[in-house]
Amino acid sequence: MNPGDLTAPDIEWIALSPSLIVYGAAVVGILIEAFAPRRVRYPAEVVLATLALAASFAAVVGLAAGDRGTSKSQVAGMGSLAVDGPSLFLQGVIVLVGLVSVFLFAERRLEPAAHGARVDSFAAQPAAVPGGAAEQEAIRAGHTTTEIFPLLLFAVGGMLLFPAANDLLVLFIALELLSLPLYLLCALARRRRLLSQEAAVKYFLLGAFASAFLLFGIALLYGYAGTVSYSGIRDVVAGNPASLDAGLASTMGNDALLLIGGAMVLMGLLFKVGAVPFHMWTPDVYQGAPTPVTGFMAAATKVAAFGAMLRLLYVVLPGTRWDWQPVLWGVAIASMVAGAVIAITQTDVKRLLAYSSIAHAGFILAGVVAVSEDGVSSVLFYLAAYSFVTLGAFAVVTLVRDAGGEATHLSQWAGLGRRSPLLAGVFALFLLAFAGIPLTSGFAGKFAVFRAAADSGAMGLVIVGVLASAVAAFFYVRVIVLMFFSEPKADGPSVVIPSPLTMSVVALAAVVTLVLGIAPQYFLDLAGQAGTFVR
């Protein structure tokens, strides 16, 4: 092959615009960090990120309105990215979650002002040793880390690619693209920095470990199919390979490679969604990371990773469903049961929500293993509903504070409903949505996935799921009881009045939770229309 043969890649700019806008803005954000004076960085970054994500969302809506999700779905970027219903739906959710997270990131009214400068929840000088002289100096100077906004944009960019990836290598790149900024963001807490750094290192180590498995799985799949493209692998699984690679003649079509490789790639994705037994990082990271980051990560990563998993299972591996379906049943059951059971004895709000997210990963898996259009649309709906409830819940957590920063120990939340009935009421709404009580989005979502699972014949899974929901209801309601029916502690935390930024996040999350709960049909229909993958 000589250089003259190299053709320029054929890029569908319009179809890929949602992600491209985000990458562009992220790069501009880095340039701002490099060249703009310190005092304009914060407003510039916030405005840039907000506009970029809003534009990206507009692009998603525009594409969807142009039937790109249904009749005109296509594979773009020379076979590497799918633009179809599920990817557009999930990209829309991710961009919205990212947009709302920008507000949480930009909140500067919670921490006491440092020498006149308002500061956010992120470390003043991340490079400084915690507790050291350099850190003290940075805090005194009122420094802030505005790099969080480009990092957020990069993470969102990776997440946009993840569910659209139509090629194993793109899948891997997207995974790293979304993970690396998150590792960094996790380490950036202003308070309890050691815990934050510990969380980031754990996340990084375990994430790298999981990526290694995923990469190895990709290699095995390449060995099996001679290609990394989804459609190519599917053709080989179906028994009609497009071409035979002579160098791989000894391994091609070897089912052992397919099964082992598939399982390993799947494992990488299960790690990201926090399913048992790949969930161990979740509580530690959720607890240690700055709460806005936890909220963003818990909401958006799950959406992206489940999107990628759906595409892998429904587009690449449907031919081997009889092999992986029972295994995923097991994973779903283990996640639901372990998440719900271990959450019972948690005493920290953020860890409690972490275990709850593990249980929810199990519920969503129940919809994934249905292997039907209903399964896809129910998972899409569930993800949209769940991500907003999660964001709202973590946003509330950022507001309950005492002198030491956020008061996350459950005993500190006792009697909160007496002092701040409105906030406690909203949090109770989110908890009820997590528990799947009717008239909240949680119920509609859970009902949809369980129905899809039941229709596919997984009655046992549904029964375990309902029982696990009952167990989970216990600890959600326990928090409500604690907030409303316990005496407040004398020196308990107080609720800080935030800026309109956080307030809008909480309000939006509450509205979405109620709307999806009371009138879910429109959104279920939307998810239903978006339920077909391009192949």
Binding site: V201, M264, M267, P277, G330
Partner: protein, 631 residues
């Protein structure tokens, strides 16, 4: 004209709404507003009555469809009214007596702080009672049925600061619930049998339906009637209901609401006519209750409770008559109306006496009041003569007709029923004379009350005596008018049908016998209470007297047969709940808690052990996938 029917109900309903939510600003005019709206309803009723009179007998049914209430596939419930001769009779009675009693209450409740609320409840009662008798289907009737139950509950417990009143209200409510269950089951049965509960579907189709079903429906309707009309075995609440203000006792617990059971049976005539066994049970219930109430009435020293026993007994007559079928329906309703006059008059008289006697109710502490309360004495006396069946007064006509209808049943049954009713008539004369003598004749026996206040008996104000006078006129004349050319019988004939049996004794014989037993009863009472001074403290009395004073042990019976086993059952269930259900629940919770505590230890915080568990997880995942392929 049809459109006026809804207004009949709307007027008092509006009054109830205004008075109950209007707040204190209506305190000053509330009672007159309530009375006015009751009167409006009465005027509308009179207008409608004359409209009906102007039509042919067959055309005297007006109906009004207000709106579709629950339209669900085959289940069609409408808010629609039917005004025929039977409803019209009730509407006139309810609004007429109701208006008089509103007027009476203006004076009677003058010193009560919550008078506005009282009138709100009274108006609510009127609206519900009118709904009950105007509904054109059983479901809407049920709404009215519950509405009058609610109003009755609220009014019995009106003086809720008195524990006895609160308890009495609760008792009335609970006992009525038993009857209400009967009505709902009857409606269920109608819906499954006829696919509807509208009168014009159920009643015409009753003939030709299996007798067993009709007997079931009939017995359930009877259960409902027993609850509302205080018939054995659901009679126990009526005596206690006298805790309410006396005007309430007069309106609800004498003249109107308690007769709703008779209305229900009469309205369902077609069902009962086709279910002779159910009719026999109705007759039995009526016969037993008429004696039961009369015996209780003979023993009570509390004037209102004695009258309550009498009410029960008189409704027993009506129920018995209704059980006789077309032989008796018209006379059941006729007695119902005349009873409405004289019993309301008696209660209002009793209220007037209490009003003048510092709310004393023990007749042994009255005596000689005729000199102090001439108007009350006169009106009470006329009502007294009417109820004991003094010739040519109201009770004489209506009761004799029922007794005659009982004989007309024929055979041994006829003799038995006639005999029982004549015995009841003797007892009626006895207990009413006793009340009369104890209250108005003899020496004064009243004493200073606990606070040292000597009662100063005085005549009540005009707002109270005028209604009593009007009712006295009704007590005297109604029976005669109704009997004139059998006008009442013919008026009701299109609704209830009419039949004449083969009586072994003539009509005149019955009248003579009834008058004879009346004289015996009066004489008996006079020998006991008129000839010699009455002791202020009641003598111990014989076994029957003591039992009768305890309402023939009705509460003891209910306690032993229903309450106690119920308590044991509840305790048993609570035990099972605590030890069994809670044990399982708490055990499960504890088990999960323990499991959770154990599992969380796996989360030890070391990245290395997390990595190991991930590695183990991958191995498991791969192995499981391969295993799935292998099997």
């Amino acid at each position: 004209m049809e459109s006026l029917i809804a207004l009949l109900i709307a007027a008092p309903l509006l009054g109830a709404a205004l008075l109950l939510v209007g707040g204190r600003r209506l305190d000053r005019v509330g009672h007159w507003l309530g009375t006015l709206l009751a009167a409006v309803s009465f005027v509308l009723a009179v207008v409608l009555f004359f409209d009906l009179l102007g039509r042919e007998a067959e055309d005297r049914t007006l109906s009004q469809h207000l709106f579709s209430w629950v339209p669900v596939a085959d289940f069609q419930a409408d808010v629609a009214f039917q005004l025929d001769q039977l409803s019209m009779t009730f509407v006139l009675l309810i609004t007429g007596v109701g208006t008089l009693i509103h007027l009476y209450s203006v004076g009677y409740m003058e010193h009560d702080e919550r008078r506005r609320r009282f009138f709100g409840y009274l108006n609510l009662f009127l609206a519900a009672m009118l709904l009950l008798v105007l509904a054109d289907n059983y479901l809407l009737l049920y709404v009215g049925w519950e509405g009058v139950g609610l109003a009755s509950y609220l009014l019995i417990g009106f003086w809720q600061h008195k524990p006895s009143a609160a308890t009495a209200a609760k008792k009335a409510f609970v006992v009525n619930r038993v009857g209400d269950v009967g009505l709902s089951i009857a409606i269920f049965l109608m819906f499954t049998t006829f696919g509807s509960f509208a009168f014009d579907t159920v009643l015409p189709n009753a003939t030709g339906t299996s007798e067993a079903t009709l007997t079931g429906i009939g017995l359930m309707l009877l259960l409902a009637a027993c609850g509302k009309s205080a018939q054995v075995p659901l009679q126990s609440w009526l005596g206690d209901a006298m805790e309410g203000p006396t005007s309430v006792s007069a309106l609800i617990h004498a003249a109107t609401m308690v007769t709703a059971g008779v209305y229900l049976v009469t309205r369902s005539a077609d069902v009962f006519n086709a279910a002779p066994n159910a009719q026999t049970v109705v007759i039995t219930v009526g016969a037993v209750t008429l004696l039961f109430g009369a015996i209780v009435g003979c023993a009570k020293d509390d004037i209102k409770k004695a009258l309550a026993g009498s009410t029960m007994s008189q409704i027993g007559y009506m129920m018995l008559a209704a059980g006789l079928g077309p032989l008796g329906y018209a006379f059941a309703i006729m007695h119902l109306v005349t009873h409405g006059f004289f019993k309301a008059g008696l209660f209002l008289g009793a209220g007037s006496v209490m009003h003048g006697m510092n709310d004393e109710v023990d007749m042994r502490r009255y005596g000689g009041l005729r000199k102090h309360m001439p108007i009350t004495f006169a009106t009470f006396g006329l009502a007294y003569l009417a109820i004991i069946g003094f010739p040519y007064l109201s009770g004489f006509f209506s009761k004799d007709e029922i007794i005659y209808a009982g004989f007309s049943k024929g055979g041994g049954q006829g003799w038995l029923l006639g005999g029982v009713m004549l015995l009841g008539a003797a007892l009626t004369a006895y207990y009413m004379t006793r009340i009369m003598l104890l209250t108005f004749f003899g020496e004064k026996r009243w004493q200073p009350d606990a606070n040292g206040h000597e009662p100063h008996p005085h005549e009540s104000p005009l707002s109270m005596t005028v209604p009593m006078m009007v009712l006295a006129v009704g007590s005297v004349a109604a029976g005669f008018l109704f009997n004139l050319g059998s006008s009442f019988e013919h008026w009701l004939e299109p609704v209830t049908g009419i039949a004449h049996g083969d009586s072994p004794v003539s009509h005149g014989m019955v009248s003579i016998a009834a008058t004879g037993v009346m004289v015996i009863g009066v004489a008996g009472a006079w020998f006991q209470y008129g000839r010699r001074p009455v002791p202020v403290v009641a003598p111990t009395g014989n076994l029957l007297t003591r039992a009768a004073r305890r309402d023939l042990l009705q509460d003891d019976f209910n306690h032993a047969v229903l309450v106690q086993p119920g308590n044991y059952l509840t305790r048993g269930l609570v035990y099972v709940d605590h030890k069994g259900v809670d044990g399982v629940v708490n055990g499960t919770a504890a088990a999960f808690g323990g499991l959770s505590g154990r599992l969380r230890r796996v989360q030890n915080g070391f990245a290395r052990s997390y990595a190991v568990s991930m590695f183990g997880g991958v191995v498991l995942l791969v192995a499981a996938t391969l295993l799935m392929r292998a099997v």
